[in-house]
C-alpha cells in the first residue's frame, strides 16, 4: 500500500501541452503512472506524446470519457486557481498543483470553496507525490527514490529530492513521498499527511521536512505527540536564516513566538521527534 496514489489512480494533466506539462507527463508515463488524459482548452481532440495521450478541452469531458479521479496542474499561475476549481467541480478527488506564484487572494478563495467538497488539494508550489517504484504524480525525479517503508513529507521541492536521495544512497526506501508545497496558503498541511501515514500499512517510519515560517511544524508536533504511534524524524531548514524581512506588526502578533527554526525544532523535539541537523544525518537517525 501507499498513500494518496495507488492502483486506482487515473491521472489527467491540466496544462499537458505546455513546456513543463509535456516534459513531466513524459516522465510520469515513463515511470509507469496510470495517466489517462491531458487537458488544454482549445486543443481538445489532439493526441500528444507520440499519440499516446488524448487531450480534452475541459476537465469535465476528460473525466466523463476516461473516468479520471486525479489531476496534476501545470498551467501558468494566472490560470491555476481556475484550473483547481475546474478540477474540483468536475469531480476530481485528488488535485496536485505544481504551479507556483498563485496570488494569495485567489488561494484563500479556492481553499474555502474546497472546504465543503470531498477533495484533497496538494500544493500549490508542490513537487507532487511519488510512490516508488511505479507511480508518481509530480515532478520528483523517479530514479532518486527506491521502494521502502519510510514515508516522507516536505514543504520544500529540491530539499525533498535531497532527502529521498540521501535515503536511497543509504539503502532506505520510500513508501510515499509527498511535497505539500511551499506557499503561504496550501491545500493540505503536515497533519493530514501524517495521519495518512499513520494509517498506511506499508509505512513504518516518517521523515518530516519543515522550514522556517508559519506554524505548521508546531501544529504537527502537537499532533505527533497526541496521535502518532510511528516514529517521526524531523529536519527544519533555515536554522541560520537571517531575520525574516518582516513588515509591520500583524505577522508577529498572530504568529506569536512561533516560526523560527529553533522554536520548531524545540516543539518537535518535545513531541518525541528526532531532529537531524542536516539532510545527510537523516538516514543514520532512521537506522539508529
Amino acid at each position: 500500500m501507499s498513500i494518496l496514489i495507488d492502483s486506482e489512480t487515473r491521472l489527467i494533466v491540466q496544462g499537458i501541452t505546455g513546456h513543463e506539462g509535456s516534459f513531466h507527463t513524459q516522465q510520469m508515463l515513463d515511470y509507469g503512472t496510470n495517466l489517462v488524459a491531458g487537458v488544454t482548452p482549445g486543443k481538445g481532440g489532439e493526441w500528444v506524446l507520440d499519440g499516446k495521450v488524448p487531450v480534452f478541452d475541459s476537465v469535465r469531458t476528460a473525466v466523463e470519457v476516461t473516468g479520471a479521479n486525479t489531476s496534476i496542474i501545470f498551467v501558468p499561475a494566472r490560470f491555476a486557481s481556475d484550473a483547481i476549481l475546474e478540477a474540483a467541480d468536475a469531480g476530481i478527488r485528488l488535485i496536485v498543483c505544481i504551479t507556483e506564484g498563485i496570488p494569495v487572494k485567489e488561494m484563500l478563495q479556492v481553499k474555502h470553496i474546497l472546504k465543503s467538497q470531498d477533495v484533497i488539494l496538494i500544493g500549490p508550489n508542490s513537487p507532487g507525490i511519488i510512490t516508488p517504484p511505479h507511480s508518481k504524480v509530480g515532478i520528483i525525479p523517479g530514479d532518486i527514490t527506491r521502494p521502502g517503508n519510510v514515508g516522507v513529507i516536505s514543504r520544500s521541492g529540491t530539499l525533498t529530492y535531497e532527502v529521498v536521495y540521501a535515503l536511497k544512497q543509504a539503502g532506505i526506501g520510500t513508501s510515499t513521498c509527498v511535497g505539500i508545497g511551499g506557499d503561504a496558503i496550501i491545500g493540505t498541511h503536515f497533519i493530514e499527511i501524517l495521519s495518512h501515514f499513520e494509517g498506511d500499512s506499508q509505512t513504518d517510519k516518517i521523515v518530516m521536512i519543515g522550514e522556517i515560517g508559519g506554524r505548521d511544524e508546531e501544529n504537527a508536533a502537537a499532533y505527533i505527540a497526541n496521535q502518532m504511534t510511528k516514529p517521526v524524524i524531523g529536519f527544519i531548514a533555515g536554522q541560520v536564516a537571517p531575520d525574516n524581512q518582516r513588515m509591520g506588526h500583524a505577522g508577529a502578533i498572530i504568529e506569536g513566538g512561533v516560526g523560527t527554526a529553533e522554536k520548531k525544532i524545540n516543539a518537535l523535539h518535545s513531541a518525541g521527534v528526532q531532529i537531524a541537523r542536516y539532510p545527510d544525518e537523516i538516514p543514520s537517525l532512521l537506522i539508529g
Binding site: 507556483e100 496570488p103 484563500l108 474555502h112 529540491t158 530539499l159 536564516a241 509591520g248 506588526h249 539532510p279
Partner: protein
C-alpha cells in the same frame, strides 16, 4: 512588496480613511513651504522602509516653518540603518486622545485573513501582544464573503471604542479591508489609528505589503517601487527573478530551491563555515540566469569560496554547468569553487564542469565540508 508610509496613506485616502493633512518634501525648502501651508506645529517623518526610524531620529515634531526647514535638513542628510533619507512626509501635528492598533494580515494556518485590533496601539504593539495577549482581539474574515459589518462592530465593542464612534470605526475597518482586497495586500496596518481630541479617527501611520505574486495586477505600484533601501545585489537579483539575500559570511552559495538553499546554509554552518548569502535560482533556470546569479555572488567582495549545490529536477544540471562555465570564462574570480550537481542530466553537467577542472562533490555533506575547508584557507 512594501509600500512607504506616504504611499499607504495615498491608498487610505483613496479608500476614504482619514489621514493628517500633509505632503511629501524632498528638500528642506519644501518642508518649510508645507509647514507654512499647514499652519501650526508639524511632524517630519523620514520615508524609509526600515522599522525603528523614530528611535533613529527619523521623526521630529517642530513648531514653526523655520524649525521645519532646519530639522528637515538634518533628517534628509541622515542615513537610517544604512539607507539615505531622500524624502520626508510633512504633516500637521494631531492632538491624540487614544492610540488604537488596527491591522489585516493572513493567517496561513486557517487560510483566512484576520482583522486584528487593540485598544493600545503604537510602537509597542508587539510587546503588548506578547505580554498582554488578552488585549489583542482578532476576527477571521471569510474570503468569499469579506469583512461583515457585525464583525467590525463586535471588534469595536471588544476594544471598547465609545459608542458614538462605532460608525466611524466600522467605516474605517471596512474601508481598510476594501483597500487590502483591491491591492492584493497581505498586510494592511494602521498603527496608530488615533482618536483625536475632536473625536475623529485619523490614520497616523500605515503599512501596506503587497503579494508579490499579484503584482501583475498592480503595474502602477511596481513602477513606483522604492529600491533605495535595498542592496545593489538584491536589485540586480530581482531583475533576473532570483531570490537573493546578502549575509555576512564568506562562502557564496548558489542553490536551486529555497528549502535546499537554506539547508545548504545550515550545513555550512554545522561544518564550521559561514554562508555569504542566500540565493535561490528557482526551478528550470537557464544558463543565462545561472550566469547572472554567479555574477551577483562574485560581486560581493567578502566571498572567498563558492559552493554551487544543484539538485536537478525541472532544473537541468547541464544548463547550470553551461552557465557556470560561461561566467568563469568571462570573469576569472581567482577563488575556489565547489560544485555539486545531482539529478536531471547530472552526467552531462559533470562532464562540462570536469572539463573546467573545478572541485566537485557527490553528497551535500561532502560538498559543504570541502567548501568550508577551502573557505578557512588563507586567501592567496
Amino acid at each position: 512588496m512594501r509600500l512607504h508610509e506616504y504611499q499607504s496613506k495615498e491608498v487610505f485616502t483613496d479608500h476614504h480613511i482619514p489621514i493628517p493633512r500633509g505632503r511629501l518634501a524632498a528638500t528642506p525648502e519644501d518642508a518649510k513651504l508645507i509647514a507654512e501651508e499647514l499652519h501650526g506645529p508639524v511632524v517630519l517623518k523620514a520615508q524609509v522602509l526600515m522599522g525603528g526610524r523614530g528611535k533613529a531620529g527619523g521623526i521630529r515634531l517642530v513648531r514653526s516653518p523655520d524649525e521645519a526647514e532646519e530639522e528637515a535638513a538634518k533628517i534628509l542628510g541622515r542615513q537610517i540603518k544604512g539607507i539615505p533619507v531622500r524624502r520626508l512626509l510633512v504633516e500637521e501635528a494631531i492632538n491624540i486622545q487614544q492610540e488604537i492598533y488596527l491591522g489585516l494580515t493572513i493567517d496561513r494556518q486557517k487560510g483566512q485573513t484576520l482583522l486584528i485590533a487593540s485598544a493600545e496601539g503604537g510602537v509597542d504593539i508587539e510587546e503588548i501582544a506578547r505580554s498582554y495577549p488578552e488585549k489583542i482581539y482578532q476576527v477571521g474574515v471569510n474570503p468569499l464573503l469579506g469583512l461583515c459589518e457585525y464583525q467590525a462592530r463586535n471588534l469595536a465593542t471588544e476594544i471598547e471604542i465609545p459608542r458614538h464612534l462605532w460608525r466611524q470605526f466600522n467605516a474605517i475597518a471596512l474601508n481598510l479591508y476594501r483597500a487590502y482586497l483591491d491591492l492584493d495586500a497581505t498586510l494592511a496596518e494602521i498603527n496608530p489609528l488615533v482618536i483625536t481630541e475632536q473625536e475623529q479617527f485619523v490614520a497616523l501611520d500605515g503599512k501596506i505589503g503587497i503579494d508579490d505574486n499579484a503584482l501583475f495586477r498592480h503595474h502602477n505600484l511596481v513602477d513606483k517601487r522604492d529600491i533605495s533601501g535595498e542592496a545593489l545585489e538584491e536589485i540586480e537579483a530581482r531583475k533576473f527573478g532570483l531570490a537573493y539575500i546578502k549575509l555576512s559570511g564568506n562562502i557564496g552559495c548558489l542553490v536551486n530551491g529555497a528549502g535546499l538553499a537554506m539547508a545548504t546554509m545550515d550545513i555550512i554552518q554545522h561544518k564550521g563555515g559561514k554562508p555569504a548569502n542566500f540565493l535561490d535560482i528557482g526551478g528550470g533556470a537557464s544558463a543565462e540566469k545561472v550566469a547572472a546569479a554567479l555574477r551577483i555572488i562574485l560581486s560581493d567582495t567578502q566571498v572567498e569560496t563558492v559552493l554551487i549545490n544543484i539538485f536537478g529536477g525541472i532544473t537541468r544540471c547541464d544548463e547550470v554547468a553551461h552557465g557556470i562555465r560561461q561566467t568563469l570564462q568571462e570573469i576569472d574570480p581567482k577563488i575556489p569553487f565547489v560544485i555539486r550537481l545531482v539529478g536531471t542530466n547530472e552526467n552531462e553537467g559533470r562532464q562540462i564542469i570536469e572539463n573546467a577542472e573545478l572541485e566537485t562533490a557527490i553528497t551535500l555533506a561532502d560538498a559543504a565540508e570541502k567548501a568550508v575547508a577551502l573557505s578557512l584557507e588563507p586567501v592567496p
